[in-house]
Amino acid sequence: MADSNTKELYILAEFESAAALYHAAEKMRDAGCRHFDCHSPFPIHGMDAAMGLERSPLGWIAGLCATFGALGGVALQWYASTIAYPLVISGKPFFSFQAYLPVTFALGVLMAAGASLFGMLGLNRLPQFHHPLFNSERFKRVTDDGFFISAIAVNNAEGDKLQKFLESIGGSNIEVLKD
């Protein structure tokens, strides 16, 4: 057990199916537990509501980046065609915005795509190669066919309480993990 209260404890409990994990998550939510996560090999439909999670803000991030990408695209084309290198082609205006649409769109998409992947990694604090849960041998099954709940306890007393609660809602093979 942890020597000091500064290190968090991870209580890991295994569940036998996606359905069991889903119902356990509902019980954790209803018991008022906030610092827990449900681990599964694939995303489980409706789990966000079962855990009481809010919607990811990633859409706003991607949308903002797309807007900046598109505006940057317009600015680039405006600068290159009117200031830096004005070319007369068939007497068309230097700022022929209609012709700028494909590049503007492409740069918007490019930024949105980058923001989606890197924003997702940022929100998930990845890459993170070291984590207390990786100390568990059983936890390796989470990417195969294992379903787990990990709950964070700040001290031993809370850890014991969580262990009992996880057992009472159907968790098995309970492990206490620390850094």
């Binding site: 199916s17 681990h39 489980i44 789990m47 079962a50 990633l58 494909p102 997702m120 390796k140 195969d144």
Partner: protein, 466 residues
């Protein structure tokens, strides 16, 4: 588990199993990771030897091109766009099916896509890699190819943003980057699976780095699923725009046979058509070689045939409509170009195209053909040949007979044209063989998600059934 529930039923369409063979989560992991973890078969070595030799022919031809110049190709006045542009459009087109499967079918909640999306996306990446090389080497002095990008330089020179050729640079390179990010996003959970199964230290290290420390927690899945949805959402207009932009390379010019407004939708339909044919060819090979009949079922091939039937008929409609407009417009140059296509010196190429793209796919009306692996394999290759000839017909026939009869000429490829084209298949296949060897070719996380036991209300339902 009783014996009648042999096949897992799809949720949206009970009656047609999505994945057969009564799979559990673990058996999916075992089967698909097994392909990557198994000992390398001698056939793989044989295949990659041949394909990498072909890739060597590709790079050798490019080397000679750089050394000697564009004169080694058959391009000349009036046909300045020969094999290089045909191959570029051909390869970009192939890529489109991968994005259609990964993005558009995802948004339409076509859950059968989970078995084929991974390798279709990989095919997209490798096809765009081949495609990007061709315009790059077609500029002749390839060391000046960076002039296509808006890079500040000592000459104070900037690209012309009003040219469709420049739109293409942005469209295709964005397409490649977005496809790569989408593909990698899908791979993260599967790399984590390989990490957790790794037996050797090196494998665990490499897969661990690629998996970025994925833990499969729902707090991670929440952001992950939204990222996937956004990528699918932006890839959908992107894939439609890319081939539209490619078509404007032709349509914005004033050459008869190119200057038509039907080009963008016609090119997109053709791209999806040819891409599905390539997915079919590769899918049939993969399911045979790796025993994936339970994952890529006849049902999947049947659905893909139907998409090819639809897009093939769109392409056929475009061929007809081009002729109609050529007559209806009253433009004599336009009319001549089309009569010349069908009955001129390149009639052989035109009728090859019509046979492979319009007539042969009509066989897909028959369920027997759609369910016969051998027939599908042959037809998918014929469609790819036909779609290559479509680009040949578009590029060559219009240019070889332009406004002034004094300029007319008959274009034929040289040895180096053909070597570069055949060699590009070597690069494509080498990349694909490396992919099937080192990366899970089917998305495990997604396939598990469509199994019935993945539904959080599964147990209750099963109990109710008794």
């Amino acid at each position: 588990m009783n014996t009648t529930a042999k096949d897992t039923k799809s949720l949206d369409n009970p009656g047609t199993p999505l994945i057969t063979g009564n799979q559990s989560f673990h058996s999916v992991t075992e089967k698909i990771s097994g392909i990557v973890e198994a000992k390398v078969s001698p056939y793989w070595y044989l295949a990659i030897t041949i394909s990498s030799l072909l890739a060597l022919v590709f790079f050798g031809s490019i080397g000679y091109l750089v050394w000697e110049g564009i004169g080694i190709w058959g391009v000349n006045v009036p046909v300045g766009w020969g094999f290089a542009i045909i191959n570029f459009v051909f390869w970009v087109g192939i890529g489109h099916a991968g994005t259609l499967i990964s993005a558009i079918l995802f948004l339409m909640r076509q859950r059968w896509r989970t078995s084929i999306n991974r390798f279709a996306e990989a095919m997209t990446l490798f096809a765009i890699t081949c495609a990007l090389i061709f315009p790059g080497i077609h500029v002749g002095r390839i060391w000046a190819a960076y002039w296509m990008f808006p890079v500040p330089n000592q000459m104070g020179m900037w690209p012309n943003f009003r040219s469709p050729l420049l739109w293409d640079v942005f469209a295709v390179s964005t397409y490649f980057t977005a496809s790569l990010l989408f593909w990698y996003t899908g791979l993260i959970p599967d790399f984590a699976t390989l990490r957790d199964r790794a037996k050797t230290k090196w494998k665990r290290l490499i897969m661990g780095i690629l998996a970025l420390g994925w833990r499969g927690g729902n707090r991670q899945w929440k952001h992950y699923e939204l990222a996937y949805l956004i990528l699918a959402g932006i890839s959908t207009p992107l894939v439609l725009s890319v081939h539209s932009v490619v078509s404007t390379d032709f349509a914005v010019s004033l050459v008869p046979g190119w200057h038509t407004t039907i080009f963008p939708p016609y090119f997109v339909a053709g791209a999806i058509f040819s891409g599905f044919a390539m997915v079919m060819t590769l899918g049939i090979l993969a399911r045979k070689i790796f025993g994936l009949e339970d994952f890529i079922t006849v049902n999947h091939l049947d659905k893909m045939s139907k998409i090819m039937l639809v897009t093939g008929m769109m392409v056929g409609y475009a061929y007809m409509m081009e002729f109609f407009i050529a007559w209806y417009s009253g433009n004599e140059y336009e009319l001549f170009t089309f009569l010349n296509r069908a009955f001129g010196p390149y009639a052989w190429a035109y009728w090859t195209m019509i046979t492979c793209n319009v007539l042969v796919p009509q066989l897909f009306w028959f369920k027997k053909v759609r369910n016969s692996i051998g027939a599908l394999f042959v037809i998918s290759i014929l469609i790819n040949i036909g779609m290559w000839f479509e680009r040949f017909v578009i590029v060559v026939t219009s240019l070889s007979r332009d406004f002034l009869p004094a300029n007319w000429d008959y274009y034929s490829p040289t040895f180096w044209d053909i070597a570069t084209f055949v060699g590009s298949f070597g690069l494509f296949l080498t990349l694909f063989l490396l992919f099937v060897r080192f990366v899970p070719i089917i998305s495990m996380a997604e396939v598990k998600g469509v199994l019935p036991q993945a539904d959080p209300h599964h147990t209750a339902k099963e109990q109710a059934k008794g």
